[in-house]
Assembly symmetry: C2
Homo-oligomer: 682 residues x 2
């Protein structure tokens, strides 16, 4: 098998069957080739990551400009492996040349926790005598240890254990029956697992014990719903069909749709990576964003009681949004005509594995695109909108994150995230005081306050890589009411603050001024407005980071201190909380704070820049979120402003068009499928 | 015709054919009956409004409690009429008893401007010699006066003319061809129209003249698009069908859908009014909101240059969101299986008129309702969501407002508003400096900065009328980082501020603290969380009112000074900028500020209250908004918190359900209609 793949790779890199596009994720064959190349020189390794080392931006842009006259970027693998004694190796392997480019032992770091790392813990926990003892204390007999479960989390950081030993904390649960939701039965103690020795090295035990919950199960599976009277029967089907197929085209992983064109990448960590996004503006393929991805996230919990003070998760940096991604299915996760893409990763043993249907691509009707009626004569144009959705869903232990990148015909890019899944829960004695740090969502179940903060990495390319960010605030005129300049007091304007360096660019959200951030190309002015071509970041779910300045999460999640950071582009700056996130102490802070501190006065105006945007929501749990949470949506927009000469979607065929003259207008495309719900008069 | 209707009404009020539901809008017959009753006593009237005078809340609630033992609320008409000399009469007519209940001359007010009032102006303007002269000055010869158009607006307020003469300002435009968009050809002067004398009494002329625009037309009708190469041809159809019909039922104007039940009203002013909204919670029909409506809005413009300083529109109070509503059509405005409702109004002559298909009711698939996968074994439940949408669209001269009331299966009510249509534009000389007050969106076309601020009237009924509002802010613990109480600095909680009186309840938005407002019933605590049953207002598009304190808009639009006001319920407090809005000076401020000033210490805790929420957006125009604006959406949520025992939609049939035990689970409802986009492997 591995040999076959080696041959395939050889064929690919020699060009016999056409090579992957430079931004494509590594194929299964390439992954196994990288492993084989490393194993020629290094033994006894477990593999943590083998992923595409993306072409350097300058190299990639040069090749795109002149693919024939410029060397094709090599296929290169970025490798993290763990050797004996938990030694961590970072390596780069050039697959095109078949050789290791760099290989280094990296001290004092912990690479992310893979699904395999996670799955080991539960079986160890069940057999550990100290865990069995603790289970006994709260009412679980030794013969029921098969009913004990755990969600292993990285430890985050705990100063008692530091960063050198690879640790997981086991959030403990119980299931009376295998199909019962364990989140109704949280256990009150927390074992600490040493991944090197594969043993429990400590158990955090609360001063007040909480016997295992005696409440009945709270389930949502079919058997439970049927036992309570069954499913509702009053939902009639809505069928969505695309008899002529989809409106997008795929060329490998490059999608074209409604003037948009982009490359769809995917990696173990960020999940979806959208690159070289262009918009065909009347024949002119104009760049908009070089690369968009969710680069990091942090979920800080708000309970300071030991050991919950350390509970927070960097779901991307500590576990990987790609590694945790779901295999999707037609008609369940998406409706209509669906195109899926798979995702391939390395496993611990160095073999390639593939998640089928990791990425979903589909279109949806999007309601009214534009409409106007002349009130004089009711002449009217109404045009319906279509949207393209590129999505994946990942499961981070209890939570589900559904990530939708949505492209609109008007040049807008929308990122929508839906949160669903299950609350992280902790044990409480019946009607124990939660001290305001959580909510009893079910008898004996305490769901702690928390935030979900996402860091969107925006690498803009607004008509070219030289871009500038302005903060824009609706601002009242200084002139007083009654003055000649402002008689009625109505004057207001868009106050623009130009970001010159990364320190000055650290900025927070202000809803009062409708604050947005404009990403401009100052070298190109709109012929009508005279303003730089730009995309505007419109994001309204932007709370402050609740953990305090100087505290653990504040130190570790430097990206979350401000809504916006801007840095000068650097090929190596992808991960805003650092490359290896688990067990970082935050001293010094990795990622964004370190990069900014290293060059606080770097010029970020009219140059190649990256905008890092942290947004999200604050979640005070309620019983409605239990036992499974109805999806909570959150959305932001990147909107073209002064970018197009005018509305760029006027040529979308209208549903209806009439004009004041009454002259016949062609092109009316009334949907003949839709119907009245009831017969006339009923 | 009118006599027939009188008979119908007689039949209805005598109960022969079943009377309208007390909250139903007046029928055509009832409208004409009201007019006939008034005309028996009063002559020479033009009718401005004949609309339902809604039953008093106490009376209506008593009747709902005991429909047999309590008198049915009478059918009553609320009438505004204009007599000779622009005298304004406010009247109430009891249709059940066939008599006038009250009739009064109201001094110093102007009722709203109807579509008929608006349509008179253009023909007068075209014939006015002073207007013809001004047209000549900017390059329009007298023989082209048929190419001159105007959008008549109320004057707002202009201290030169005061409130006693009924005025409109004519925003002037030109069309080279009847089908050309006039908003590319704004004229630089502004005639003032006296509605009593039907003549132009003044023209505001700018110091610097701007000849009529010489730019070519900027159109979006079919002929224009075809002249430029035609419509795009790469959109394949998406068909939405409901072969078994819709999932909602109509009983008159009461709709039932997915445990929701509510009455759908409609009036000339607020448009949609949703009343007595209940949610069937396992057989218990629980009240949530007594009445929801968009009660007012204001669009202040930000240019202080004369005469633009007075440009602002109260689209509901000055024109009527119902009066301006569109007649909708299947497949254009909505797709799927649609139920429409008509809307009837009075005209100037006292006859009933009806807008067909004024209200659209339909369902849509709403993506994932909830999903969770167990990472151990990939057992998974995924359930798709459905939403019910009750909508109307109104055209306010240049702008379109699409109002969508969306009901979700999880008990959430969402209000989404889409803005589309055309920017209000003013003339500019080519590349004239806009001084920051506007944008040249097309050569010679200046679109001024503005806001769209909506006032949502929330009359809550959270398990009964006695409700309390809390402001909720995510707040960090006071304990310092490193202290025993907050070692890692992560502690945060939901700080709740109870609103006790209307002055204290005046509150602004704070994105930093994820501020929400909880509408609670303190008399009913959730059995698990111990917290009052509540609905949470989650609204994130909440800029400050830009016009300055003490200025005209600040005075006239008192509701927009704060994001939230709370008042004690009063049957007569429906219109937050006052009953008659045109030409109010704001001295004193009408509506909310007057009500609060009248009783600043009224108790608003644990009593019958109304929450007034102002939200919206700030619009700095860009060329992409021209010549017609791609829809810009805005959304807020009312979410149940501590209201349901648990997630109330667990019994929605899943698309897929598997369990860890592998035991067969019934009820899986995978959509068999959806398909892969491409053949396998392509
Ligand atoms: Co949450
Ligand atoms: Co606008």
């Amino acid at each position: 098998m591995a040999l076959d793949r080696l041959k395939q790779t050889a064929a690919i890199v020699s060009g016999d069957t056409g090579p992957p596009y430079p931004l494509d994720p590594l194929t299964e064959a390439e992954i196994e080739t990288a492993v084989a190349i490393i194993r020629k020189e290094h033994n006894g390794l477990f593999f943590n990551t083998v992923t595409l080392w993306e072409p350097r931006k300058a190299e990639m842009m040069a090749w795109l400009q002149d693919p024939k006259g410029t060397p094709r970027p090599h296929r290169v693998a970025d490798v993290v492996a763990v050797g004996r004694g938990s030694k961590v190796y970072d390596g780069i392997v050039d697959l095109t040349e078949g050789k290791i480019v760099s290989w280094q032992l990296t001290e004092g770091v912990q690479p992310l926790i893979t699904m395999e790392d996670l799955q080991i813990v539960e079986s160890i926990v069940r057999k550990d005598p100290k865990v069995i003892e603790q289970c006994g204390i709260i009412g679980i007999p030794p013969e029921d240890m098969d009913k004990v479960y755990c969600d292993p989390w990285t430890i985050g950081y705990d100063e008692r254990f530091g960063s050198n030993v690879r640790l997981q904390q086991a959030l403990m649960y119980y299931r009376p029956h295998i199909d019962d939701s364990q989140y109704s039965y949280p256990l009150d103690f927390c074992p600490i697992f040493n991944a090197d020795t594969q043993e429990i090295i400590h158990i955090d035990i609360p001063p007040v014990r909480r016997p295992v919950n005696k409440a009945p199960p709270s389930n949502y599976h079919t058997a439970a719903i049927e036992a309570e009277g069954g499913y509702r029967t009053d939902l009639k089907p809505i069928n969505i069909t695309q008899p002529e197929g989809v409106s997008f085209k795929m060329d490998g992983r490059i999608i074209s749709w409604q003037n948009w064109k982009l490359h769809i990448g995917f990696n173990y960590r960020e999940g979806l990576v959208l690159s070289n996004i262009t918009f065909n503006d009347k024949g002119n393929e104009r760049p908009t964003f070089w690369r968009l991805s969710l680069a990091e996230m942090v979920v800080p919990y708000g309970n300071p009681e030991h050991p919950h003070q350390r509970k927070h998760a960097f779901d991307l940096g500590e576990y990987g949004g790609g590694y945790m991604t779901n295999s999707l299915s037609v008609g369940c996760d998406c409706k209509g005509a669906i195109h899926y893409m798979d995702a391939s990763f390395v496993n611990r043993a160095g073999q390639a594995t593939t998640i089928k249907n990791a990425i979903c691509i589909h279109e949806e009707d999007a309601g009214i695109l534009f409409k106007h009626t002349d009130f004089r004569d009711n002449s009217c144009t109404v045009t319906r909108a279509r949207k393209l959705i590129i999505s994946h869903i990942f499961t981070a232990a209890n939570y589900e994150y559904c990530v939708y990148w949505i492209f609109h015909q008007d040049g807008t890019i929308q990122l929508e995230i839906k949160l669903t899944g299950i609350l992280n829960t902790y044990a409480m004695n019946p009607d124990e005081d939660t001290n305001g740090w959580g909510t009893q969502v079910y008898p004996g179940v305490n769901a702690h306050n928390h935030q979900h903060l996402f860091c969107l990495r925006i690498d803009p390319n607004i008509d070219g890589p030289e871009n500038t960010v302005y903060q824009v605030d609706a601002t009242r005129s200084d002139a007083p009411v009654g003055s000649d300049e402002n008689k009625y007091g109505n004057a207001f304007y868009a106050k623009k603050t130009r970001f010159e360096n990364p320190v000055q660019a650290q900025s927070d959200y202000n809803a009062a001024t409708s604050r947005t951030w404009d990403i401009c190309n100052e070298n190109k002015l709109h012929p009508y407005s005279g303003k730089p071509v730009s995309y505007k970041l419109v994001s309204r779910e932007v709370p402050e980071l609740m953990p305090k300045e100087g505290g653990l999460v504040w130190k570790r999640a430097g990206f979350a201190r401000h809504a916006v950071h801007v840095t000068k582009y650097d090929d190596d700056q992808i991960h805003p909380a650092g490359r290896h996130v688990p067990q970082t102490s935050g001293e010094p802070s990795q990622g964004l704070p370190a990069w900014i501190a290293a060059n606080p006065t770097a010029n970020i105006a009219n140059t190649d820049i990256v905008l890092w945007h942290t947004f999200g929501l604050t979640h005070f749990p309620a019983p409605e979120d239990f036992p499974v949470m109805p999806a909570e949506p959150m959305s932001l927009l990147l909107r073209p402003r002064h970018f197009f000469l005018r509305n760029p979607c006027l040529d979308v065929p209208p549903s209806y068009c009439s004009v004041p003259s009454g002259v016949e207008q062609g092109g009316a495309l009334v949907d003949k499928i839709s119907r009245l719900a009831f017969r006339e008069g009923s």
